[in-house]
């Protein structure tokens, strides 16, 4: 059924899948992708809420806010991925591993 609640439930499930990916996987690339899943899940919530609150075209209306927020999130996600992959490259250069378990110089 295409309802607000179902959209939100789907969003929650995808968010959980993403969270699972971050904690269960031992591959930084996949962890990064999982973070993307989480952000996308949130975007889905935003768009669903925007659909609910959207009753006017005015820039200041509640519905608009949700959609604009998603656009901003996309920018942030893109920036995060760029930085994350850059760090990964710097890391890989010295260590040849994408396993977060190998990051063990700092602990205790």
């Amino acid at each position: 059924m295409f309802t607000l609640t179902n959209c939100l439930v789907l969003s929650a499930l995808i968010f959980a899948v993403g969270a699972y990916g971050v904690i269960a996987r031992r591959n930084i690339l996949i962890m990064l992708m999982s973070v993307e899943l989480m952000l996308n899940a949130v975007n889905l919530s935003f768009i669903a809420f925007a659909r609910y609150y959207g009753s006017a075209l005015a820039p200041a209306s509640s519905g608009t806010t949700g959609q604009v927020f998603v656009l901003m999130t996309m920018v942030v996600a893109a920036a995060e991925v760029a930085v994350g992959l850059a760090i990964l490259i710097a890391l890989f250069r010295g260590r040849h591993s994408v396993d977060p378990g190998d990051l063990d110089l700092l602990k205790g």
């Binding site: 968010f15 990064l32 949130v42 806010t65 995060e80 760090i87 700092l106």
Partner: protein, 485 residues
């Protein structure tokens, strides 16, 4: 179309200054000699931060809201804005020598520092959740990169990676929280969230996610685990900036959201017990873990976790706008940002080319070789321990008092006990510095790094002033909280 008139521009001034500074740094850098110290960049960065300081002072006064309510220049934001700008300025001063020693004397370093500062100031002044989100992200992305800026050091890159991965993870939570709050109210403007007939279960779920995100940024247990690793791995000057600036900006936004959007009695009654738990855990875990450390930076990282707990004590005992708790938090974070920055400035000063000065044992006998550095470090540590007449004592006094006054006796007792235990690990370095034989390795032949000494002196003086004559700063913090509406 908002009027890009005076109010809009005025409010933006403190952010524009470091931003323009960052651009100027990036544009100047290619024209500078590669082999020589890049002092012009330091001058530009310092100048822009002083301009930011001046702008903050210029705006100090009544609340001005601009950009369709996205940004608020009020005392609340400006108060910690001063702490942020000061921390950035002192970091730049100490970087003049440090960056060269660590091989990162480049335009990217200073511009990232300034961009992070701009993000922090935005965060401190953000008045809707969208700006909070963007402010946090701007600041974080710049700081992730700064943590890894000494790319040849595996520890530095590892710190950046860990900080980044967990930061991105926490961002997901923060964002989900904002989404749910938006879903419950249809609003992201803080004061409108408070006045909205909200859908309570959804709103509270959103608040829960939001606390995870903020808890991560300020380093509260159990969202703290990035802190020790990131603090240890990042280069010392960056760590100091991180510890002072990120926490100050994080607390500014955190507190503003709690007081404005969730300041109602019912909402406050809901979040207070949750924060009680975070505060207690942070104090206990932070203090205990710091006890067993041998690395100075790591010890300070754990101590920063404990200090987050102390500040949260004030948040819990806030008593809303009428109470003194929130003001106590502002004052506490202000003093904390200075006293946590100090030790890192000293570490930066003592570091040698490509090699950080970070083991506690290395401090042995420091008092004889570098008496000024040793005395300053002792002062900072005493202040962190909360021993009068330093600022740390005053901060703790007001925070604990606020908590006990509003009936959170248990939290106050935990705080005092944690403080007592913490004296042990703050004193150990002092004992080493003054009562052990120095190691032979100290190199006294280096030219004196006056800029660094100056920065350390400023921090020490500020701590003593805030400790002996705290009245004005505390009065200002009270005004700040009252000026929130």
């Amino acid at each position: 179309m908002p009027d890009i008139g005076s109010a809009e521009l005025r409010v933006l001034l403190p952010v524009l200054a470091p931003l323009l500074g960052a651009l100027a740094v990036l544009l100047t850098d290619p024209y500078l000699d590669k082999g020589r110290p890049k002092l012009p960049l330091v001058y530009i960065a310092l100048g822009s931060l002083m301009a930011a300081w001046a702008a903050l002072g210029f705006l100090w006064g009544d609340r001005v809201v601009a950009w369709s309510g996205a940004l608020a220049a009020d005392r609340f934001g400006l108060y910690l804005g001063f702490a942020i700008a000061t921390a950035a300025g002192l970091t730049v001063l100490s970087s003049a020598g440090y960056a060269r020693k660590m091989g990162v004397d480049c335009g990217e370093y200073y511009s990232l520092l300034l961009l992070a500062t701009a993000g922090m100031l935005l965060l401190a002044m953000a008045n809707d959740l969208l700006m909070v989100f963007l402010g946090i992200e701007t600041m974080s992305i710049a700081v992730y990169c700064l943590a890894g800026i000494t790319r040849e050091r595996p520890r530095s890159v590892e710190a950046a990676m860990k900080y980044f991965l967990l930061g991105a993870f926490a961002t997901g939570f923060l964002l989900y929280g904002i989404a749910l709050i938006y879903g419950a109210t249809g609003e992201v403007r803080l004061e409108r969230i408070a006045h909205h007939a909200a859908n309570r279960p959804l709103l509270l779920a959103g608040l829960g996610f939001l606390l995870v995100g903020f808890g991560f940024k300020v380093g509260a247990v159990p969202f703290h685990m990035w802190a020790p690793d990131a603090y240890e791995g990042a280069p010392a000057a960056v760590t100091g900036f991180m510890a002072a600036g990120v926490k100050a900006a994080g607390f500014a936004a955190f507190l503003r959201v709690l007081l404005t959007a969730f300041g109602g009695e019912a909402a406050a009654a809901a979040w207070a017990p949750a924060l009680w738990m975070l505060a207690a855990l942070s104090m206990i875990v932070g203090t205990l873990s710091a006890l067993a450390q041998t690395n100075l930076k790591r010890m300070l990282a754990w101590s920063s976790v404990a200090h987050t707990g102390y500040a949260l004590v004030g948040v819990v005992g806030g008593g809303g706008v009428a109470g003194n708790g929130s003001a106590a938090v502002l004052f506490y974070v202000l003093t904390y940002s200075v006293m946590t920055l100090g030790p890192f400035l000293v570490i930066a000063l003592l570091s040698r080319a490509g090699e950080e000065f970070e083991q506690i044992d290395d401090l042995a006998g420091l008092a004889r070789r570098r008496p000024v550095a040793a005395a300053a470090l002792s002062l900072f540590l005493l202040s962190l321990a909360g021993i009068p007449p330093t600022a740390g004592f005053m901060g703790k006094l007001f925070v604990f008092r606020a908590a006990i006054d509003s009936g959170w006796l248990g939290l106050g007792v935990i705080g005092i006990l944690a403080t007592l235990v913490s004296v042990y690990y703050y004193l150990r370095p002092i004992v080493l510095m003054y009562m052990r034989e120095p190691r032979a390795e100290f190199n006294a032949s280096e030219p004196t790094d006056w800029a660094s000494h100056f920065a350390i002196g400023v921090a020490a003086l500020a701590l003593l002033l805030l400790g002996v004559l705290p009245s004005d700063a505390i009065a200002a913090s009270l005004e700040s909280v009252r000026g929130l509406w």
